[in-house]
């Protein structure tokens, strides 16, 4: 029982969610929502000692049958598994929960693997600073206003492809479903639809000169 609808994260890219604590529920809700909206099998990698993900709590976000949970004992195993999963092309999405931040090299490797396999990668962990991720999100719950729904505040703190957007979602307590509500922030496109487009940095080839890009922009 999942309904489609944002947030859309671009395929073939790594994305990040800042998780304040091990098993951060707000970040997990975001990841589950993205996985449910994207469809396909989701490889969910978590530390063996993290608080477990409760599949009943994912109702309305993602079908738990689509999840394959991998519990890794060492952070390096998690990175390896994520890279392997992203590269294989057999799963649509890979969620990597970690208690350690990614460094630039690790995130770049994951980014290359995601490009090779065309899968969406999502890293849930501490704010990693300068990484190769396409977008970075901060997720938190807001105080409820009136209704019983849980209000989430999803704020992009980084977007390589344009201005950061900021969205508000409400999760119905009874059904678990999410509804997007009015978003604020200066983003030109609130719904970042997947699709090819000219870009300077995120392109898989990534070797274009500025001139070629400007020519392309001019033509478009």
């Amino acid at each position: 029982m999942t309904e489609r609808g944002g947030p859309y994260l671009r395929d073939g890219r790594m994305h990040e969610v800042v998780a304040g604590e091990a098993g951060d529920a707000a970040a997990r809700v975001f990841a589950a929502r993205v996985a449910g909206g994207r469809g396909g099998v989701c490889l969910w990698i978590a530390g063996a000692r993290m608080p477990p993900l409760c599949p009943h709590g994912l109702a309305g976000l993602v079908d738990p049958d689509a999840l394959i949970v991998v519990e890794v004992a060492a952070p390096l195993d998690g990175l390896w598994t994520a890279e392997e999963g992203l590269r294989s092309g057999a799963v649509g999405m890979v969620v990597l929960e970690s208690e350690r931040p990614l460094d630039l090299l690790q995130s770049r490797r994951l980014q290359l693997a995601a490009e090779a396999g065309g899968a969406t990668g999502l890293f849930l962990g501490p704010d990693s600073g300068n990484t190769a991720a396409e977008t970075r999100w901060q997720c938190r719950a807001l105080p409820a206003t009136g209704s019983r729904a849980i209000r989430f505040d999803w704020r992009q703190v980084k977007n390589r492809r344009g201005p950061s957007i900021h969205r508000e979602a409400q999760r119905d307590e009874a059904t678990g479903r999410m509804h997007m509500v009015a978003a604020s922030g200066g983003g030109a496109s609130l719904e970042e639809r997947p699709g090819p487009g000219p870009s300077l940095r995120g392109d898989s080839r990534g070797r274009r000169t500025l001139d070629a890009l400007l020519a392309e922009r001019g033509g478009a």
């Binding site: 809700v29 009943h56 738990p64 394959i68 949970v69 307590e173």
Partner: protein, 466 residues
């Protein structure tokens, strides 16, 4: 003789504990070896005695040039293993065993001559219990001849039907069927090399050749491997081994070679590898599949089916071989109201992993389940959640509380975590003073614990919604 007495006589006496299981395994291995002489080999392992290997030589002896030559060949083969053996050959199993254990070494009873050969042997040669033997000897029946001369009815009456049956079997009066070992050739292939090899690439090349042979055989027999072992023998006599497991039974040489590729570096080649043996230690039936890329017979397969499903299996196999098969998990709903037991974790390799659909929870469940963490509070709260509390060293104020949802322990399971009795669960929204974000927590208290025992810490956080 007791061990203490033996040690008093010989202080540096070696000692080893009896290991029946390994003895039996060894006998079984010997039995498999002996199947080269006859298809019908049985083993007889009795507690407290040496094992007996029984070969039904009927119709086989001429292949080895007669009974004597056959016995010689078996004896030579066993001697090469460093074993001390005693052999006997007779018309009946009982007779052969009696000759082997009590006759002169390597005695062969001619056809029809079993009775003559075993009659002079002591009654213990029949394989009687020790107590029964002692009874017989005390009454003067020292040899099988003495026993066979007695009236049958009184033997059965005085010494039990079993004694008579053993005698009859040894003399060939009563049928004595063998229970031969099954002819199970292990799914293994080996290759010995003219020159030792040492590089990973060379080993991988040999492995490909071995896999091609093994997989062809598995395909012929309609089997798929679940676990494979690669053992190597080094030039210096040492050995090493490594193994891989498969998510689903498979016999695709490429897939298996991929799995091994990550393990070959673990092998210690030492001064070079002399021979390799690849053994499918676990095989399962695998029906032949029609392989047609792009066509998917089960179009509604939720995993994308066909090629995609195979890719997923291959991926999970690679992951499981690194992190362990228990760590790759699929979830399934369980019939329990206890939050932490309301779902099951299946190894993704489990054939029945996956569920038939998830029930709608009767009340919202948190996304993250914690081991219950106690709240501390200044003012004791009894029925409703505390208005102010400290959780993870942060002060929270409860803004809203929904509940209670009462969950009673499963009395048929003694779960230490639920010994405090039933629980009242509340969903609360808590905010930190002067912070704009809110937390949604799943808290409970245990009304059955008497208030005076630990009044200030009877509230716990069990899960987090956000």
């Amino acid at each position: 003789m007791a061990l203490a007495d033996a040690r008093a006589i010989l202080p540096n006496l070696g000692m080893a504990a009896q290991d029946t299981e390994r003895d039996e395994a060894f006998l079984r291995a010997l039995g498999r070896w002996a199947q080269r002489f006859t298809p019908s080999v049985a083993i007889e392992a009795r507690a407290g005695s040496d094992g007996t290997l029984i070969l039904n030589a009927g119709g086989c002896a001429h292949l080895f040039g007669g009974e004597i030559r056959m016995l010689c060949e078996i004896g030579d083969g066993l001697a090469r293993f460093g074993l001390t053996t005693r052999m006997g050959l007779a018309d009946t199993r009982g007779g052969a065993v009696a000759l082997a254990r009590f006759g002169e070494a390597g005695r062969i009873a001619p056809p029809g001559g079993t009775r003559q050969m075993i009659e002079p042997l002591p009654v213990a040669a029949l394989g009687l219990e020790a107590g029964r033997c002692a009874d017989l000897v005390r009454l003067g029946m020292r040899t099988i001849h003495d026993l066979a001369a007695l009236p049958r009815a009184s033997v059965a009456k005085r010494f039990g039907v079993e004694t008579l049956r053993l005698l009859d079997r040894a003399l060939g009066v009563e049928a004595d069927p063998l229970a031969p070992l099954a002819q199970t050739a292990p799914h293994a292939v080996r290759m010995s090399l003219p020159e030792p090899i040492g590089t990973t690439g060379a080993v991988a090349g040999i492995l490909d050749a071995l896999l091609a042979r093994l997989c062809a055989r598995l395909e012929r027999e309609g089997l798929g491997a679940r676990h494979l072992d690669l053992s190597i023998r080094r030039a210096d006599g040492g050995s090493d081994r490594t193994g891989v497991g498969l998510m689903r039974p498979g016999r695709d040489a490429r897939t298996i070679a991929d799995l091994f590729a990550r393990k070959l570096d673990d092998l210690d080649a030492g001064f070079g590898i002399d021979s390799l043996r690849l053994h499918a230690t676990r095989v399962e039936p695998l029906a032949a599949a029609q392989i047609a890329p792009g066509s998917d017979p089960q179009g509604s397969d939720p995993q994308g089916g066909g090629a995609k499903g195979e890719k997923l299996d291959a991926l999970l196999g690679r992951i499981a071989n690194r992190v362990g098969f228990d760590a790759v998990i699929r979830l399934a709903p369980a019939e329990s109201h206890i939050p932490e037991r309301s779902w099951l974790r299946f190894s993704a390799a489990h054939p029945e992993a996956g569920s038939d659909g998830w029930p709608v929870p009767r009340a919202p469940r948190p996304v993250t389940i914690l081991t219950p963490e106690a709240l501390t509070m200044e003012v004791a709260a009894t029925r409703r959640p505390p208005a102010r509390f400290v959780w993870r060293r942060q002060l929270f104020e409860t803004v809203r509380a929904t509940g209670p949802e009462r969950i009673t322990p499963e009395w048929w399971l003694d779960d230490p975590a639920w010994r405090t009795g039933l629980r009242d669960y509340w969903r609360i929204e808590a905010v930190r003073p002067a912070a704009s974000c809110a937390r949604r927590l799943w808290v409970y208290h245990t009304p059955e614990v008497p208030p005076e025992s630990s009044a200030l810490s009877r509230w716990y956080v069990h899960g987090v919604f956000a």
